[in-house]
Every structure is written in C-alpha cells, then in structure tokens.
C-alpha cells in the first residue's frame, strides 16, 4: 500500500538521521572504555592468608594506621578534625571502619605497600616533583611484609559491616564523600550539613566547609565536582568505568583510582541515582501505564476513522 510505503520512507530517513546524530556522533566524540569488572588485573594477587588478630596489632601499632586514620567501630577517634586534617594532608584520611568491605582486598594490600601506585597517581609524585604521597607507605614491621599486609587487610575486613548491610549512602561516603560534595543529598566533604537554628552557626559550618575545600583544592589542583546530577550528566557506564580507572577516560587526572569492589561500585552508583534520578521507578511505572493507555487510544482512533471512512471510499 502506498501509504505504508511513504511511512517506511519517513521512518528510514528518521532512523538514519537519529543514528548519525546520536550513536555515531557519540562514538566519534567519546572514547568507549570497556569495563574491566573491577578486577584490578595490574595489581598482584594476595598470596598469604591474613590473621585478623595479628592484623589488629599491626594496624594499631607498627603499621601506625591509627596515627592518621580514625577507626570508629574500634573506638579509635580521629586525632584531628576534618578541616585540620585536610590542611595537613590535603584531604581528610578516611575512617577505616568500613574500608574492608568497600575496597577490594588486593587494592587495599597494594595501597598499604605503595599508595601512589595503587591509586594510580604516580604522575603527581614523580621524583622530579619532590612531592610524596601524604599516606606513608608501609615498609614492614620486621617479619614477612606480605604476611603483615595480609593480616592488616584481614583485620580491616573483620571489623567492616557485612556486604548486605552496606547501604548505598555508606559506600558513597566512604569511597567518594571526602572529596565530592553532593548538594542534593545535603552532603558536604566534612559530612552531612545539619539543620541550624541560628544563622551564625550555619555560617560557621559553611566556613569550615570552605576551609576544607580550599585545602582540598590545593591538594587536587581543582575542587572535585559536586556529584548530585552525575547520574544524568555522565550516566552509569561512564561513572563505573571512570571509578574503576580514572586515567583511562581522563589521562593525567588528579582523581585517584578508588579501588572499590564491583559490588560497592554498584552501591555508589545507586546512591548517585538516589540523588540525581529519584523518580526513576515512578517514571517506569507511569510510563508503562501511559503506553498501555496510548495504544488503546490509537486503537479507538483507528476504529473511529474506519467507521467514518467506509462511507467515503
């Protein structure tokens, strides 16, 4: 039928235009990076089985972790507040309570041994730069260093919440929240912004945030962006591959490889969706209903047309 032929022509030209303007143009503009499924293949596999009890002694003692890191579940408070920490180290060192579940074990081990290498920021700490990564590397406590590191990792894993208890928000806060704010979730780099009764208290808090951000900007070269709308501006695939290895998509970026496990990366992305695409479930639900209705609408419009046009032909 002639009309269907015309429809086919219109459809083909529309789809060709769509293909050229969207998938094709984007493939030219953006490098496609395949996910490595958070395998961290460049890091050596763990060969030793760790002992959490010995690990605890190392973390609190010879490893000197608790000199800079708080471990709130083990009752170790932070030595300094977040702002002072950032002014000393560039960024507030993370609380170690949940790092055992958020970060990959292999990554944690490599990080303890050589932070700049594991984080993939060696380009910032070349010998010529004269700078050293603020986290001191662990040179060993006298025994087998690999065994000692395995012990520490085992300890960190033993104190962390179980994977199924890790909420998207916790994953985000541990992995991203010390550098990235998230305005739409009321999150600042120094924690959630409380509701203040007095303007003065609020301003005091804001100044703390600014001081922290200033220190962070000095450390990173630029203030890491607010992530409120990243789920819409970057999309899931980009975020996931970027978190896995920032250097792949943005060579030379100051953002370190974060080293999260695949499961934690999913949690982080879920949290980003909870901030920037809160109505996604409602959209799908309403979408289905509207589609059903519109098909019925089209069907009835066809029946009406047919009943009218049978007199005209």
């Amino acid at each position: 039928m002639k009309e269907l032929f015309i429809l086919a022509v219109v459809t083909v030209f529309t789809l060709v235009t769509y293909y050229l303007v969207e998938p094709f143009a984007h493939s030219v503009m953006h490098k496609h990076v395949e996910s490595e499924h958070f395998a961290y293949a460049d890091l050596p596999a763990l060969t030793k089985t760790g002992d959490a009890a010995r690990g605890k002694d190392l973390v609190m003692g010879a490893g000197a972790c608790s000199d800079c890191h708080s471990i709130s579940v083990a009752g170790m408070p932070a030595r300094m507040d977040a702002v002072t920490s950032a002014q000393s180290y560039g960024v507030n060192p993370p609380d170690l309570s949940n790092v055992g579940v958020v970060y990959d074990a292999k990554f944690l081990a490599a990080l303890i041994k050589n932070p700049a290498h594991a984080l993939k920021v060696e380009h910032k700490y070349t010998p010529e730069s004269g700078k050293e990564h603020p986290m001191a590397f662990f040179a060993g406590a006298g025994g087998d260093i690999d065994q000692e590191i395995a012990d520490m990792v085992a300890y960190l894993q033993s104190i962390a919440v179980k994977q199924d208890k890790l909420t998207p928000k916790m994953a985000f806060e541990t992995a991203c929240g010390r550098c990235h704010a998230m305005k739409y979730e009321n999150w600042t780099q120094i924690g959630e912004k409380p509701a203040f009764k007095m303007k003065k208290d609020e301003l005091a808090f804001d100044i703390q945030v600014i001081d922290y951000q200033d220190a962070l900007t000095k450390y990173m070269g630029k203030l890491p962006p607010d992530l409120s709308m990243y789920i819409r501006s970057r999309g899931e695939h980009y975020i996931s591959t970027f978190v896995e290895n920032p250097q792949h998509l943005l060579e030379g970026t100051a953002m370190p490889r974060v080293g999260v496990t695949a499961a934690s990366a999913d949690k982080v992305i879920e949290h980003l969706a909870d901030a920037g695409d809160t109505k996604r479930f409602e959209r799908e639900e309403v979408g289905k209903k509207v589609m059903i209705f519109i098909v019925i609408f089209a069907l009835f419009s066809y029946l009406w047309k047919r009943s009218i046009w049978k007199d005209l032909h």
Binding site: F297, F300, L303, W304, S307, D311
Partner: protein
C-alpha cells in the same frame, strides 16, 4: 443504523480520550500540591527545657511568630481557672504557647517582663501573661497553635490530645 454505529465509535473514541484527559488532570492537581519540603517544614519541634522563666522567646512556625513564655511560680499562683485552661504543661512546667499575632489586625505585640503583659503597638490592644485580652480592641485572646507534647519536646503542627481539648472547649480557635 449506519448513523448509530458512526456515532457510537465517535463517542467511544471520545470517551477514551476523556479518560486520558482526566488522568492528566490528576497529575496536574498533584503538581499544585505544596512541596514535600514545604510540608515537612510545617512541623517545628521545640525543646521546652531550654526556656527560662518570664523570658519571652519568639519561635517560628509556618512563617508565623510563636510566643513561648515559661511561667514563674507567682504567675502560676495568680492564674484563675480560665487562665489555667490555656496552660501548656510539659514535664510539670507551665508555659504560655501562642501565635504571636494580635487577634485584632495581626500585628506582633511586644512583651514587657516587668508588667508581665503584652502591648500591641498598632492599636494599643493588651494581653496578660496567659495571652488573655486585658484591653480592647482585640476580640479574643492570642490563638494557640496546634501542638503535641512529646516528652519534654513540643511539636508544633501536630494535634495532640491536650490541644484537641482546648479546641473543643473553645479556648482557642
């Protein structure tokens, strides 16, 4: 017969389209509703242990000033039955909790702690420390906002049994 059928399909299509129009009206109605942030800001929680005797504190609830006055022992002793009915009792302490707008024309009266009374600067209306009118033109005492007692906290915006009783007995509007 033919005409009937044609009319029928037209009406059926119109009805389907009408269902769609009504459904979209629902979405439109919902879009006019107060936002969740506005709604949640409609409840203010006051920590009643923080107030000092005979010192008026002006809180804010739904954009209106709320007077909170903790009564002294002498004040309580002075009160008659009608005054007592207006008391908000939290943890054994007596408070005056009122919307700080003159019931005459809505100005905000000022408190004089010495005279233990309120004076409205606009038209000279006066209230005592219980919020009762002592000098015209205000037609009635200061209104009491909906409240619920929760331990030593007071939640404004929710209607607790004490408030409901006040409303039933006509102590407040």
């Amino acid at each position: 017969m033919k005409n009937g059928r044609r009319g029928f399909m037209g009406k059926a299509f119109g009805a389907v389209a009408g269902v769609g129009a009504v459904a979209s009206l629902y979405a439109m109605k919902k879009s006019w509703d107060p936002l969740p942030s506005v709604r949640s800001a409609g409840f203010t929680t006051l920590d009643m242990s923080a107030y000092k005797e005979n010192e008026l504190v002006v809180e804010k609830w739904r954009g209106k000033p709320i007077f909170v006055l903790k009564k002294t022992a002498e004040m309580i002793a002075k009160q008659n039955e009608a005054d007592k009915a207006r008391d908000v009792l939290v943890n054994g302490e007596h408070y005056m909790v009122c919307i700080g707008l003159c019931t005459h024309l809505g100005c905000i009266p000022g408190y004089d702690p010495k005279g233990e009374s309120f004076l409205c600067a606009c038209h000279g209306g006066m209230y005592d420390f219980t919020g009762m009118v002592t000098k015209a033109p205000p037609p009635r005492g200061l209104d009491i906002p909906p409240f619920k007692i929760d331990g030593n906290k007071l939640v404004l915006g929710e209607e607790g049994p004490e408030y409901k009783k006040m409303k039933e007995t006509g102590i407040t509007l």
